[in-house]
Symmetry: C2
Subunit: 296 residues, 2 copies
């Protein structure tokens, strides 16, 4: 009888476990289980420190997209061109933008007026971690070096998507009217209609609230009407040029790993006790690629 009873208990347990699906992991679960190799440090050679009176905004520039503009922005930072410029615009549900309010500041070594790099030619070797979920603004979307991107495989081009925190190059009507002297960051709902219409070079990886909580400008398009409303920029420096002791040690989750695939699934179908209806879908800009501070 004891053997039969034991077997019945074992069977009942097995049935109960089979009927109770394993709990869906949350993003926090996935990140907790991640390995060091799932993360990569920022590349200091293409990381900018935008220092405002209230603190530091850290911006990472893409290694392959919009190379001429990335190079020019690094040039501008190296010659200290941004120092003493200002945040000139804060447009609700759109962008914060910074640049030279006088529009007269001379550039020393960097170039003026680059031909737009609204898309960048890429080949089959382009690091593209596809997101299978459909997207209305691009033939394909995914991630490249942890940045959200759109890709047109037929045209052989890719571009950074205008997700929250995306950093782009302000321009006028002419396609060659931008050069990096005026940059913006997306501070509202992702304006994906801007994709392929303007050069996007990177994204904010830390310090976003310093831009997103700025008072909104009262002028047209959110420009600050009075000089005293503009937020002065102390400096923009390349992290590699900053003494190591002053740098911030940040890591970004890599997007070419099994861990990242699990992270995306944890966002596509959310676990935990709070969610009741899984979406079964994740939109590109709803994947906020995690960044973490590394203890020194």
């Amino acid at each position: 009888m004891r053997i039969v009873a034991t077997m019945l208990i074992l069977c009942a347990t097995a049935i109960a476990q089979a009927q109770t699906p394993a709990p869906k992991p949350t993003l926090a679960d996935v990140l907790k289980a991640s390995q060091p190799s799932d993360w990569r440090p920022l590349d200091p050679a293409r990381t900018l420190y935008l220092d405002l009176p209230a603190g530091r905004v850290v911006i990472e520039l893409h290694p392959k997209i919009a190379p001429n503009h990335v190079a020019n922005i690094l040039s501008l930072a190296k010659e200290g061109w941004f120092d003493g410029t200002a945040v000139i615009r804060s447009h609700d549900n759109y962008v914060a933008q910074w640049g030279d309010p006088t529009e007269k500041k001379a550039v020393k070594t960097a170039k003026r007026k680059l031909e737009g790099e609204f898309t960048t030619p890429v080949g089959k070797d382009f690091a593209f971690d596809k997101l299978p979920d459909a997207d209305g603004y691009a033939p394909e979307v995914g991630f490249s070096s942890s940045f959200p991107v759109g890709r047109d495989a037929k045209a052989g081009t890719a571009w950074l998507a205008h997700c929250y925190g995306a950093v782009g190059v302000g321009r006028g009507n002419e396609t060659n009217s931008g050069d990096g002297t005026s940059l913006y960051a997306v501070t509202g709902h992702a304006p994906r209609h801007l994709d392929r219409n303007i050069t996007v070079v990177g994204r904010v990886v830390q310090g976003m609230p310093l831009l997103s909580s700025l008072p909104r400008g009262t002028g047209n398009l959110g420009f600050y009407e009075k000089p005293e409303q503009q937020v002065p920029i102390k400096s923009v420096r390349i992290a590699a040029d900053v003494p190591a002791a002053e740098r911030i040690s940040l890591e970004v989750l890599r997007t070419d790993t099994a861990t990242f695939t699990k992270a995306v699934e944890a966002l596509r179908n959310r676990g935990g006790d709070w969610f009741k209806v899984p979406a079964g879908y994740i939109e590109l800009c709803n994947v906020q690629v995690p960044v973490r501070v590394v203890a020194k």
Copy 2:
């Protein structure tokens, strides 16, 4: 010879005009050409004035969606329950949330703990202005009384989408743990994964910067850690209960008109001199239904 010359000039002109497509209208063009009947006033009986020290946030509640929660929030406003509560949370790229920091304030006539209205049963008579563009978070999307909505025709349900400015009912893990005493507004990229997981009752139609530019809370999930960081709420009143001279006269663009269809197309394929590549697609939350102030 003169007749031939004239005919040649006329032909050349006709050919030139045939080859130059009519310029695409911008949203501004469409709104400029709109008729008074393309707009509707806010319904003061379901419009809330959330008065903060820095100014007024105007919230419109939907006439049909989440009726029990809308009624309860109107009850709470009528009994002055919100007066002296506060904005308790400002979470970057997510929400601002307000409620009673003490969590002890008694409710007089309104109800506590309503069963969630994460979706609302709707029939064929539900005012639904479909947006033909595909959406990953709902079987169909569109507009209802100028609010962005998702609809599941098979299930016979609809819900307000979590676009920027959407106002929803804070809850805990249990589906009946919300009642309107804590509300939130979306202040970042639209968290559409929240759709059908929480009761959404309306949207901010004016004053959004008063919420979106609030300093971010330093506590977990953006909660303000210190009481002095919370933003006091002077009052929340129903517009209909406010003397006419104190009301703000606002109109919203109707979403069931030919003008609205033109407005959406002007966003789907943007006109003007700045855009170079039309998207050919518009995402639900990228349609910001216009609101305008009416001169008294």
